[in-house]
Symmetry: C2
């Protein structure tokens, strides 16, 4: 089943629905009205109905949404209904932090390998996974079914890693390096860039804007 | 000077311009045409002209953009023209990874304090900064000018931390916990959420969509 007709904006919001439905499920909530979900998520009820109607009639008039069912359906749409094996390339603090996120596994992402080029890390075990040297990566990818590679490397190393990953059959890259890897991979490879510096700059901008709003000296002429 | 008239979409793109202009500057490039910047960033030249025209006449017909000048102007808009002091609450792998990002400092963000509630971390020094215990935070915030708090904590601890931060005069929260802190802070506090699990789910969705596109069995009826 293809969902190409669904807008990017809706897809972008789905993980957030998934997270809230997971929290509701954990709290023992079996069903929820769009009004209650709306006040919880601070999104209008009409936005919620519109978003979820994209995927057929999950909600019933006067009953609301079945939390478990809706969560399962969103999981299917996001491809979370089966386990994705992931390797992490770059086993410094960030790589190790990702390897320790138990949340990922709960959501269908299993870290199966950790790699680095720093020999001091050889023998270190993180969350049950031994750190391997980067030259073992091609053989590892050939021997294991791996879908996703997370890159927590300096940008030049990340770029150099791309052909190795493609050769090894990787079709999804979760990129933390300060470079837009989506610009250099073939079209059939999914890339999600996480540019932490840019997120911090947006925070800085918002902080500045709020400070300007609060400062009477900066108020505009009428 | 207020920039409220600038659309959110433009603001979202500015950090990326800033990054590319920084790379050009490092490479010794003094000026660049919108056509060249366009092919580098894979954005249309007209989009670039439109975006940058928001901030006045940085470009000159037949000359292009002065890289250093344009970068400095974007820095001012983003509030990167002065140093922001930041504390990191939660000094596990992710917190330590953030403390080690030299990139942040180059962009105007200085980590001045690291905090945790794990006594085993007391005495650990990361990038020159000693990890302090969380009960020292109020006194630290009273004694130091700190604008930003990065929260790399479990979600319940992150929520509990908010009143302490507000009390300490923090006006910007960079939140890595799996909760939408923007929903629980006053309006004059800037929050930027980094939800890593959601980014990974978007990658999973894109991977699934690409796989469906590649599989003839999933092609739609004509």
């Amino acid at each position: 089943m293809s969902h190409k007709e669904i807008s990017k904006a809706v897809i972008k919001r789905l993980p957030r629905y998934y997270r809230y439905l997971g929290e509701l499920k954990e709290a023992g909530v079996e069903r929820i009205s769009s009004a209650d979900l709306s006040s919880l998520m601070k999104v209008t009820a009409s936005q919620i109905r519109q978003d979820l109607n994209n995927f057929g009639g999950f909600g019933q008039q006067g009953y609301g949404y079945n939390v478990q069912y809706l969560r399962d359906e969103i999981a299917k749409i996001l491809g979370l209904d089966h386990m994705h094996n992931m390797v992490i390339i770059g086993s410094g603090h960030l790589g190790q932090a990702l390897a320790n996120y138990t949340n990922f596994e709960r959501n269908g992402f299993q870290v199966v390998g950790l790699f680095d080029n720093n020999k001091d890390l050889l023998g270190t075990v993180v969350n049950g996974i031994p750190i391997r040297m980067i030259d073992e990566l091609p053989a590892f990818l050939a021997a294991n079914e791996v879908e996703i590679a997370a890159l927590t490397l300096p940008k030049d190393n990340a770029k150099k890693m791309v052909p190795v990953l493609l050769e090894g059959g990787i079709h999804a890259i979760w990129n933390f390096a300060h470079t837009d890897l989506n610009l250099i991979v073939p079209k059939d490879v999914a890339v999600q860039n996480v540019h932490l510096s840019e997120s911090l700059m947006r925070l800085s901008y918002n902080l500045k804007t709020l400070q300007e709003d609060a400062s009477p000296a900066d108020q505009k002429e009428p």
